[in-house]
């Protein structure tokens, strides 16, 4: 009697998670396995025949100069993550205290995160306009005679994208940091103050270690989000000028949906997956040294 009840219970359980499992299976597991298979074929969308080509796609990738360029650009893109987090922490500490227009400021900082990517793209293209844009206008105003060409030069374009991305992520990182700061018991800060700690010491030695789990979370999710993102670059530069802003995810998109080279795109996707995996594992191992729960 008891056993059959258990059985029935678990069957009911499967029924409830069933729809979700089917979704995961159809839209995640099967495509993932399929893309792993595609990596070893020369499948081109719309093309009638597909051959098994073994490791050709991987060999091609390793010999592809553009892959190397995309990899390098991806790492430059990733610089935005720690910078954005650092700024977000400072802003969060400032906004955690009672400052004027606290709520308004919080909302303003969060604004970019909920704004449409295309709108962001157009506004920043105007701001970065090399000769008549306000950013270079300002730089010239403070005496820089030769301000960077930002998006119109291959040297600066990736950093310009970084700046946009830092600005975009700031609000999100700040909100999460704010939540973490609110969790810190007042007594700890109070105790530090009574012991004679200066504000900077309090932040460095009390607050920062206490929010380290949050920092860890933001770092991992931030790196993954950034490494996967291409929408903002697609909207602003399409990977140009030249190929100075082609990051890996955009490179995959172009190969798959512009050139229909699905097999090759699958190979690069798995390379990207491997990179994300290595990053995450390394951080996971390293966290013991600096994350305090």
């Amino acid at each position: 009697m008891h056993k059959s009840w258990m059985k029935r219970q678990s069957r009911l359980g499967y029924l409830f998670i069933g729809p979700n499992m089917i979704g995961v299976l159809l839209f995640f597991i099967i495509p993932a396995v399929y893309s792993f298979y595609l990596m070893f074929t020369d499948y081109k969308f719309m093309s009638p025949e597909t051959n098994f080509v073994g490791l050709d796609n991987i060999r091609r990738m390793l010999n592809d100069d553009l892959f190397v360029v995309a990899l390098r650009n991806t790492f430059v893109f990733l610089l935005a993550v720690p910078v954005s987090m650092g700024l977000a922490f400072i802003v969060a500490v400032a906004l955690n205290k009672s400052v004027y227009w606290q709520k308004t400021l919080r909302a303003l900082y969060f604004m970019p995160y909920i704004t449409s990517g295309v709108a962001i793209a157009f506004v920043w293209m105007l701001l970065f306009q090399p000769t008549s844009g306000p950013i270079n206008g300002f730089l010239r105003g403070i005496g820089i005679t030769n301000p960077p060409g930002w998006l119109s030069t291959t040297e600066w374009s990736m950093y310009a994208i970084d700046i946009i991305w830092i600005w975009f992520m700031l609000g999100y990182n700040m909100i999460i940091y704010l939540a973490a700061l609110q969790e810190i018991p007042e007594e700890l800060v109070e105790a530090a103050r009574i012991d004679g700690a200066r504000p900077w010491q309090t932040i460095r030695q009390v607050i920062w270690p206490l929010v380290s789990p949050t920092t860890f979370l933001l770092l991992i999710t931030g790196l993954i989000m950034t490494i996967k993102n291409f929408g903002i670059i697609q909207a602003i530069t399409q990977g140009g000028p030249g190929n100075s802003t082609t990051v890996l995810s955009l490179f995959i998109y172009q190969n798959a949906f512009r050139y229909y080279e699905m097999g090759y795109a699958a190979a690069i996707s798995w390379a990207l997956f491997a990179i994300i995996m290595i990053f995450t594992v390394l951080q996971w191992l390293g966290q013991k040294r600096w994350v305090h729960y």
Binding site: L15, G18, S47, D65, T237, F257
Partner: protein, 438 residues
């Protein structure tokens, strides 16, 4: 127990069915419509094109539908970019209802033929495409066959500010070189324009393709011909115009501000623009872009010395194919013939001149210019549209090659590499691509 088990299976089954039905539901309804057609009832055709319905296509299908109650056509718009073409290709390869679709490049058409979704029109014998459309149609042939019908006359030309030309004492050229165009630009700039010439980034490479169509993209030994001396000539001419003469906007600035070049020409900031027939759509909009001067037209300049060596961008466009999986091929064919032989006329106002000789040229031009015929120099327009005998081409190279070229010449115009290195890189990458795709 048993009932419960059955019930669970039933629910799971129903959920699965629901999911699957979501995927194929669209197909089934279409199948239903088509079945009706066979029984002598209504046939329903779906045509995919990239022109917004309000710019002509809706009027075209409305006219047809009113005259042909037995064959009703529905127009579906896709945007002619990567995403839009992907949408069409997905629809084609998954068997959604697409009976007719418009190809805008040979590159896209080629994929669709290989995918087995374009019908060989050779099976219809009551319409001679070569006769109706003229010699230019042949550049759309693949393996000697027509997998569709080119319906529109492409026209690439320089539009010129006639007033400025007259004031500077310059004549409207009927054939010229890039060196001459560069001088024109300089003279017009000194006459008070911010720029002598502006171009769309899409038209940038037309001179290169002119050269390479004539001299071959690939040499006899199978390697890249992107090191043709005229390629370097093009790079240096345009670079000189950007940097020495400042008669054309620097590429970096044009890319980042997505420069609205048509507006700049119509607002009198630039005296010349390298463009095509679609300019008329904007230049006829006198409320937004008022002007008190006439627009004159000149052929696109050539890089080669000799006039006989010129092949110009142009040819025919809007290549409409019939889906080989369509259940109503005959009906689609009827519509296609009607469309090409004048049915498409409402689209002329948007710059789409019919290519069929069944259509009167004068009527087409009247439609094109609408109420503002007086604001154009008609003589030079007729020359670039119908008078110029220069052979034409339709760009047929793969997207990868277009992109790799662009990436390298962008670096050159931005000053990152010399013309020599640019050519070397182009050749190397083109050769790699050729090896990959032999």
């Amino acid at each position: 127990m048993r009932i419960k088990k059955g019930l669970t299976g039933l629910i799971v089954g129903a959920l699965m069915l629901g999911l699957l039905a979501g995927c194929v539901g669209k197909n089934e309804t279409n199948g239903g419509d088509n079945g009706g057609g066979a029984a002598g009832g209504k046939v329903k055709l779906t045509m995919w094109g990239a022109v917004p319905p309000e710019n002509g296509p809706q009027e075209v299908v409305d006219t047809w539908n009113a005259e042909h109650p037995d064959i009703q056509v529905e127009y579906v718009r896709f945007v002619n970019d990567d995403d839009g073409n992907l949408k069409l290709d997905t629809a084609l390869s998954t068997g959604q209802n697409v009976d007719l679709y418009v190809n805008y490049t040979l590159t896209n058409l080629d994929k669709r033929i290989k995918g087995g979704t374009a019908l060989d029109l050779g099976e219809f014998t009551d319409y001679n495409i070569d006769e109706k459309m003229g010699e230019d149609a042949a550049s759309w042939k693949v393996d000697g066959k027509y997998y569709g019908m080119p319906t529109k006359k492409n026209a690439a030309f320089f539009a010129l500010n006639m007033k400025a030309l007259d004031q500077a004492g310059l004549s409207v050229p009927t054939a010229w070189t890039w060196d001459e165009a560069r001088e024109y630009a300089l003279k017009l700039k000194t006459a008070g324009f911010k720029y002598g010439l502006v171009q769309h980034t899409a038209s940038y490479v037309d001179p290169l393709d002119s050269v390479l169509v004539k001299n071959g993209y690939v040499k006899a030994d199978g390697t890249s011909n992107l090191d043709d001396p005229l390629v370097t000539k093009w790079l240096e001419t345009l670079n000189g115009m950007m940097k020495e003469d400042a008669t054309t906007p620097p590429l970096g600035e044009q890319l980042t501000s997505k420069m609205p070049v048509e507006n700049m020409f119509l607002a009198g900031e630039s005296a010349m623009i390298n463009i095509g027939e679609w300019l008329i759509r904007t230049s006829n909009n006198m409320t937004e872009f008022p002007r008190d001067w006439k627009i004159a037209f000149a052929p696109v300049p050539r890089l080669a010395e000799q006039e006989a060596d010129m092949v110009k961008s142009g040819g025919l466009g809007d290549f409409i194919a019939i889906n080989s999986k369509s259940k109503n091929k005959e009906a689609a064919w009827e519509f296609l013939k009607w469309y090409a032989d004048g049915g498409m006329m409402p689209m002329a106002a948007g710059g789409r001149l019919p290519s069929s000789n069944a259509v009167d040229q004068q009527t087409a031009i009247d439609h094109l210019l609408g109420d503002y015929a007086d604001s154009y120099d008609k003589e030079s327009l007729e020359f670039v549209l119908y008078g110029d005998e220069t052979p034409t081409f339709v760009r047929s190279i793969a997207q990868e090659v277009v992109d790799l070229r662009a990436q390298e010449y962008e670096k050159f115009f931005l000053g990152n590499q010399t013309a020599e290195i640019t050519v070397q890189n182009m050749v190397k990458r083109h050769n790699d691509w050729l090896k990959q795709n032999q």
